[in-house]
Each structure stands twice: as C-alpha cells, then as structure tokens.
C-alpha cells in the first residue's frame, strides 16, 4: 500500500509544491516551522482542501487528479485523522466517539482497553483531560481501520510527560498497523523519534538542506546508529546523506 502525492497550490504567502510517497508500515514525519504549509498539505491529503494542480493516488485509487478533474471526497478515502484539538464530538461519550466510525463494534472495547481509557468510556469529552482526549481521538481514527493515518500536531497542546507517553504509543502503533502514517509536527526531536522518513518543510517546499543545517547547528541525534536507521535504507536521499554523515562525523 503506497500513497503517492505530487501537488501544487498557491497560498497567500508562498506556493505549496511537494512530491513524496509513503509506504505501509512506515511513518513519515513532516516537520517544519509554523506556517510552512504542513497543515494545508494534510488537509489536501484528507480531501478537506483542493490543490491547484497535481495528483494523489493510493495504490490504484486516484484520489485527486486535476487534469482529469477527479476529486474523491473525504468520506471515501478511508482515512484516520487526528487534529491537534477538537476532534471529538461533544455530544457523544468516549465510547460513542470511538464507535461512530467503527465497522466492528468489538474494535471499540479492545481499542479503549489498549489505550488505557476504558474506565472513561461513559464520560463526555469535556470531562476528561487533554491527554485522554487525544487517546480517544487516536482510537476514533483507528476504529475505522483506515488505509492511511494522518496526525496533525496531535500532541502540541499537551504537557511534556503526556506527550512522551503518547509518542511511545504511536511508535508502537506504527509497527502494528499495516498502513502508511503521516505525522506532522514542529518539534524536531519528535520527528526524529517517530519517523521512518523525515520530510522537512519550509515555505511550502521540502527542504532537506534545512534539516541538515539544523542538525549541524543544534541538537544532533545522540546515536549514530539512530541516524543510520533514519536515513540508511532510503537511497533517494543520495548525496545529501553522505554530506550529512560526513558532517556528523566531524561533529562527534
């Protein structure tokens, strides 16, 4: 299962122009400063916005093709989407929220147990903490057995400890779900921690150089091994990677 995207869109301050793909069992971390166009990109992937031109395909399904005027609405893309806030329906309980898109009702209880919120199943979203809400949101997104999981800065509004716990959950989840996962964050360490592929985005474009610069200037990853895991088996990065390794050698 592979997602392929190549789109362009004119935005108020810059143009969004990206191409990449994401395979199943891999988490792609989209990282970059606020306002870089990451959320717009995710919304386009989800079908909540339209690109000016381009194509998005998932396996053999064409989701968007501006030349052929094809546009598949969000309902039919079978996605899971976790927003930063407000994903949950205030009028439904925790269990109700997860169940709303679940095909198989048994999934609901197993998910609630797995994410440790079973004891909250009859509470309404406004009566639980932010971390618990995001756990519920993740359950809700997964309950549908989606073909693609999108996470848009899901932990940004949470405290550091909850953030770390949920990051670990996602890391575990990534191995279990046989789907591509795209995770948007402005936090480099989160991107490096979770991502099998890391795509830095600045002003609507993918800028690998920016990432390299940051890593050289700021906090390079603790282990060289980690770095190799990250970029090692993706030959697309080619010459940039050798530059990276060389620089890191120099650093250490």
């Amino acid at each position: 299962m592979e997602l392929n995207i190549s789109i362009k869109k004119t935005l108020p301050h810059f143009d969004l122009d990206v191409s990449f793909s994401c395979r199943k069992n891999r988490l792609l971390a989209l990282v970059g400063p606020s306002g870089a166009g990451k959320t717009t990109l995710i919304r386009i992937l989800a079908g909540l916005d339209r690109p000016d031109e381009g194509r998005i395909t998932y396996n053999n399904e064409v989701w968007v093709d501006t030349d052929k005027k094809i546009f598949l609405p969000p309902q039919e893309r079978h996605l899971g989407y976790v927003f930063q806030e407000y994903t949950l329906f205030p009028h439904l309980t925790v269990a109700g929220n997860v169940a709303i898109s679940a095909d198989d009702k048994e999934d609901v209880s197993s998910l609630l147990h797995r994410f440790g919120i079973w004891h909250l199943k009859d509470r309404k979203p406004d009566k639980i903490s932010g971390g618990e809400r995001q756990r519920c949101a993740i359950c809700q997104a997964i309950a549908r057995r989606p073909h693609l999981l999108l996470l848009d800065e899901p932990f940004s509004a949470l405290d550091a400890i909850t953030r770390q716990n949920l990051r670990d959950e996602v890391r575990k989840l990534k191995r279990e779900l046989a789907i591509p996962v795209i995770h948007v964050t402005h936090d480099i360490s989160e991107a490096l921690y979770l991502g099998d592929d890391v795509l830095p985005m600045v002003n609507g474009r993918i800028v690998r150089k920016w990432m390299v610069q940051f890593m050289l200037k700021g906090r390079p990853p603790a282990q060289k091994r980690f770095t190799q895991d990250m970029f090692g088996d993706d030959s697309r990065y080619g010459s940039d990677l050798s530059v990276l390794y060389d620089s890191l050698e120099v650093m250490q």
Binding site: A46, G47, L48, P73, P74, Q75, R77, H78, L79, G80, Y81, F83, Y86, T87, F89, P90, H91, I100, S101, D126, Q140, R144
Partner: protein
C-alpha cells in the same frame, strides 16, 4: 368564558412550531454552510416578515391566498378546498410570519459549531446529510429549542396577519388575540380580561424557558 379561542391559539402555535422547526432547519443549513449566487438577497427575503408591519404582510398574504391569487388557486386545484378563511390558511400565514424567528436562533447555533467537527465527521465517513442529523442537530439542540419557543409565543400573539386572512370564524380561525380584540370592541371588557389572564402566564413561562436555555448556551453545555 369561551375557551375555544384559547384552544385554537394553542393549536395554531403548536402546529406552526412543529412545521416551522422542520422547515427552518434545512433552510438555515443552506444559509450557513452553502455558498450560492444571490444568497444575500435570499437571506434578506427570509428576514422580510420580521420587519414588515403585520397588516402589510397580512394584506399581501390575502392577495395571494384568495381563490384568485397564485397560492390560493394552486391550493384549490390540488386539494379542492380554499386556503383562505381556514385553519390551514392561518397556519400558512403564521409560517410566513414567524419564519425569521425560527431561523435566527438556529443560525446562531449552527454558526457556533466548529467547522473542524464537521470536517472530522466527513473524514470519518459521514455524508453531509448524516453529519447534519448526527453531528449538527445534537450539538444545536439549545438553539433549536430556543427557535421553537420563540415561534410558539410569537404565534400566540399573532394578530394583524390573522385578522386579514382568517375571517374570525368561531372554532376555526377566531384565535384568542382576535377574540380579545372583538371583546374589547363590543365593550365586553371582562371577557377580554379573562382571556388575557390565561395568555399572559403562558407567554411568561415560555420566556423563562428561553432565558434558561440561552443562559446554558453561554456558560457552556
């Protein structure tokens, strides 16, 4: 005291409220979520009954509801009986008269819903119609209730429009407001006072209800 006009008023208010809430909800959805050409004109048209003097509105309704008028003619062709001077006729008049009062609270409630909630529903696989019934409506119940109550008391007090198209037929179109008016004209002040005595508390109770509901909205569900 003749209870029939009071009963008629309550019946009219009830029927109008039920029909109007059902009719106004999709109209409000259209106004809030759908973009289309001429939307502002359409919206102003829907608000018109609120600003027109009731007798003006009643006059125009009379013109279209008589057997010569467009709507009256259509009605007779379809149902075989006239529209004017019937209970159904004053229901139709009340629907027009109270339409903006149904839409305004609903519109405020619909607009308050975070768009992300709707987007979340779409991504989870809910069609726009399913989203309307399973997300929008459950989260705007206060607004819908405020709408219903407003329409109810507005219809209870309706006079000018019903005067024009009702014909004051006892048991059919002679509602309480008309009966009170005629009692005053005929100098039967006691009868008028008795009917008012019943209507005022009813209206007051409903106003209290509205206050409760809107307060809850402000302080959060």
């Amino acid at each position: 005291m003749d209870m029939i006009p009071l009963w008629l008023s309550l019946k009219l208010a009830f029927v109008t409220t039920v029909v109007l809430v059902i009719v106004a909800a999709p109209l409000t959805y259209l106004l809030v979520y759908i973009r289309f050409a001429g939307k502002s004109f359409f919206e102003a048209l829907l608000t018109l009954p609120m600003v027109l003097p009731p007798t003006v509105l009643g006059f125009y309704l009379l013109l279209v509801m008589t057997p010569q008028g467009n709507i009256g003619r259509f009605w007779e062709a379809v149902t075989g009986s006239p529209l004017i001077f019937t209970f159904t006729g004053i229901v139709v008049a009340s629907l027009v008269y109270s339409l903006p009062f149904a839409i305004q609270p609903m519109k405020a409630a619909f607009e308050k819903i975070d768009r992300r909630l709707l987007e979340s529903a779409y991504v989870l696989g809910l069609s726009p119609m399913a989203t309307f019934f399973r997300v929008i409506i459950p989260n705007t119940l206060n607004g819908l209730a405020a709408s219903a109550i407003l329409v109810f008391i507005h219809t209870l007090g309706e006079f000018g429009v019903i005067l024009m198209v009702g014909g004051s037929i006892p048991g059919e179109t002679k509602v309480a407001s008309i009966a009170i008016y005629e009692a005053v004209e005929a100098l039967r002040y006691r009868d008028a006072a008795m009917m008012c005595l019943v209507l005022v508390p009813i209206s007051y109770i409903f106003l209290l209800l509205i206050n409760r509901l809107t307060r809850r909205q402000i302080y959060g569900a």
